[in-house]
Each structure stands twice: as C-alpha cells, then as structure tokens.
C-alpha cells in the first residue's frame, strides 16, 4: 500500500515536470491554433488549458507514455470541434460587427481577418483538415493519423474547403 502511494506521488511529480516542459514549449502555438479554430480568445485559452490538463492526467496515469505534439493537436482539435458544435446548437452569440475581436489590434491585418472569415465558413471536419495541414504544418498523412482518417480523405476535404473558402471570400468581398 505504501509502495502504491509512493508510486502515485512519483508519477504525479514526474507528470508535473513533463507537463511544465510541454506547456512552455507548445502553449503559444497551440493557443493560437485553437483561437483560429473557435475565433474566441478566452475560449481558446480555456480549451488550451483543458488540453494540457488532459495531458497531465494521462501522464500521471502512465509517465512512461510518449506524449507528442500530435497528441496535443489531436486533443485540441477534438475539444475545439466539440465547442463549435455546442455553439452551433446554442445559436450565434457574437454579432457579425464584432468579427475579428478575438485578435489584437496589431494582428488585425486584412489577410488575417480574411483568413478567419474564410475559416469560419467551413464545416468542422474540413476546418480540422485545413488547420492541421496548413496552420499546424502537418502533412496530409500525419493529419490523417491525428484525425483517424485516410490521407486521401484529408486531401479531398482540403480541396472542398478551398472551394468553400473561395466562395466565402468572394461573397464578402
């Protein structure tokens, strides 16, 4: 019993050390990724924290388990898709005039806001493919592994997403 307790404490300490390193390394990029996904800075911060906390729980249960950036992006994508679906059920809460308010003043370039407008028009599956392959920089094969799909399907969704984004930008232009 004592050994189990000591092992639990050791696991917790080791997991805490590893999660600290992961947070320092990936927090900024992951938070920006999630912000592009959900277009809400506060929600992005909450989701990113949830992702790291889930990673901590997993590491505490099994400290020897390798935890890659891919796992973080996969979890972040799943959390973000869940939030988008929840928001979709709830209905729109942010007026269109406030679009782009999740970006700092120095980030509000025309390209940045256009990209966000185009991303907002995508269904969640296509958005996940586009974000993983372009924003996070994964190949279609890696994105397929993260999403549990095939690389053909990922490429196909990227193609369809490009059409949708083009239509969205053309409609607002």
């Amino acid at each position: 019993m004592e050994n189990v307790f000591v092992l639990g404490v050791d696991n917790a300490l080791e997991a805490e050390a590893r999660i600290e390193r992961l947070v320092i390394e990936h927090q900024a990029k992951l938070a920006r990724y999630v912000r592009r996904f959900v277009n809400d800075r506060e929600a992005a911060l909450d989701l990113t924290q949830d992702v790291f906390f889930a990673a901590y729980r997993m590491l505490k249960a099994d400290p020897s388990r390798p935890l890659t950036a891919g796992w973080l992006y996969k979890t972040a994508t799943n959390h973000a898709i869940s939030l988008l679906r929840k928001n979709k059920r709830r209905g729109p809460t942010v007026p269109l005039e406030e679009l782009g308010s999740s970006f700092r003043l120095d980030e509000r370039s025309a390209e940045s806001l256009d990209l966000q407008r185009a991303l907002d028009a995508l269904p969640s599956e296509q958005l996940a493919c586009v974000m993983l392959t372009t924003y996070a920089g994964y190949s279609s094969a890696e994105a397929a592994l993260i999403l549990g799909s095939s690389s053909e399907a990922v490429r196909q969704r990227v193609c369809r997403a490009t059409r949708t984004m083009r239509a969205a930008l053309g409609a607002t232009a």
Binding site: A12, E16, I19, E20, V23, I24, Q27, A28, A31, R32, R35, R41, L45, T48, Q49, F52, F53, Y56, F103, R104, D106, E107, S109, E111, S112, L115, V130, T133, T134, Y135, G137, S139, S140, E152, A153, V154, R155, Q156, R157, V158, C159, R160, T162, R163, R166
Partner: protein, 224 residues
C-alpha cells in the same frame, strides 16, 4: 470513393498542400481540360494554401503564457483530491465508531428489534398450510369426540345413554357412563370395533350427539 470526382479532388488537395508528384499534377491537368469544376480548382493553385496561411500565422503576435495557471490548477486538483480523501476516511471512521458504540451499548439491537415487524399474514403466506382429513372413527370414540373437554364429554355421554346397544344396556346398567378417557386410549381398530357395535342411528341423532371440536385460536382461520 463514391463521388466520381473524389480521386481528382484528392489530387487537387495534394497539389494545394504541395504534396503532389509530377505524375499527379499531369494526371490532374489532363482531367482539368475536360472538367470545368477542376479547372476552377486549378485557378487556386497559383496561391498555395499552406504558404498563405503560414504567412498569416507568422504575423500573429499573441503569445499567451498559461504555465502558472495550469500548474496552479494541477495543485488545486491535488488539494481537492486530498481533501476529499481525508473527508471520506473521516466520515467512514466516525460512522464505524458510531455503529460500534451503538451495538456494544445494545441500543442498536433494540432499535433493530423495534423496527422488526412480523405481520401474521407473513406466516400464512410463507408457511404451507396442511389440512388433514381425519377418519370419523378416530375423531369420535364411543360416540364422543376425542378433542372435546371433560364437560362436553360428560354431556355427550348422558345423551348417548338411550342409544347404547341392547346387550351393553342390559349388562351395564349399574356401570354408569363409560369413561371417555378409555375411549381416548383405544387404538384406531378398537375404536372402529366399538363404533361398529352401535346400531345405526338416524342423522338427527348424530347431529344431536356429535360435538364439534372448537377451532384452536392459534391456527389460521379456515379458508373458504
């Protein structure tokens, strides 16, 4: 892929992500000559999707730091779990002490006895009811029921005087009424013989002489 364009959409996606080989590009170009939709897709190839998104991402300056918040949340979780564990153990210890004291002092046993309810219906519902059919000769010995009290037996003997056999009546005028308890001691065959010695009587006489046993109060009521 169910959609006929599925393969070419995948090829277009590969070109957009800059993952397509020269053969893929040639195959798509050949197809795009005869397909308006794919020609429109090919127009987007001039601005690679990945490159433009990466350029936007590079310009982002938001660098949130959440290390302290996450570590604080982890410590808070530790504290909560520890508090929950200690509270649970404390409640369990207190509950066991209370139960021990209650049973050692006898209060618990009395409380359980007070709560124990045994309805009479439970007995009749759970125990089989056995209805015995006893032969008449065993019940009525010498014209007297074996289950009656001495007072009723004496009354029955007086009533039986007039229906005794003639041989017994002649020989035992001075004997008096027969002892009821001798009849009780007689075995079944003896009782049958004695009963066979009596002359047949009419139903009215039997009604008058036979004494019905009183039902025992501890037995459940007869079901109809």
């Amino acid at each position: 892929m169910k959609h006929p364009h599925g393969r070419f959409e995948a090829l277009a996606g590969a070109i957009l992500l800059d993952e397509a080989t020269a053969a893929d590009r040639a195959e798509f170009a050949l197809h795009a000559e005869s397909c308006a939709v794919c020609r429109e897709d090919a127009a987007a190839f001039t601005t690679p999707l990945r490159g433009s998104v990466e350029a936007v991402a590079q310009s982002e300056t938001w660098r949130p730091s959440m290390t302290d918040e996450i570590l604080e949340r982890i410590h808070e979780r530790h504290t909560k779990r520890t508090r929950f564990t200690i509270t649970t153990i404390g409640y369990a210890v207190v509950a066991s002490i209370v139960l021990n004291v209650a049973f050692v002092s006898g209060f618990g046993g009395r409380a359980i006895d007070a709560l124990r309810i045994t309805p009479r219906i439970a007995y009749s519902a759970t125990q089989p009811i056995r209805i015995e059919h006893r032969p008449k000769v065993a019940l009525v010995v010498n014209g007297v029921s074996a289950l009656v009290g001495p007072r009723r037996a004496a009354l029955a003997a007086v009533a039986r005087k007039n229906i005794r056999p003639a041989s017994q009546a002649a020989a035992s005028d001075d004997i008096g009424p027969p002892d009821v308890f001798d009849g009780l001691r007689a075995d079944e065959s003896g009782a049958r013989n004695v009963a066979a010695g009596y002359p047949p009587v009419c139903a009215a006489d039997l009604e008058r002489v036979a004494v019905r046993p009183e039902p025992c109060r501890s037995m459940p009521a007869e079901r109809r």
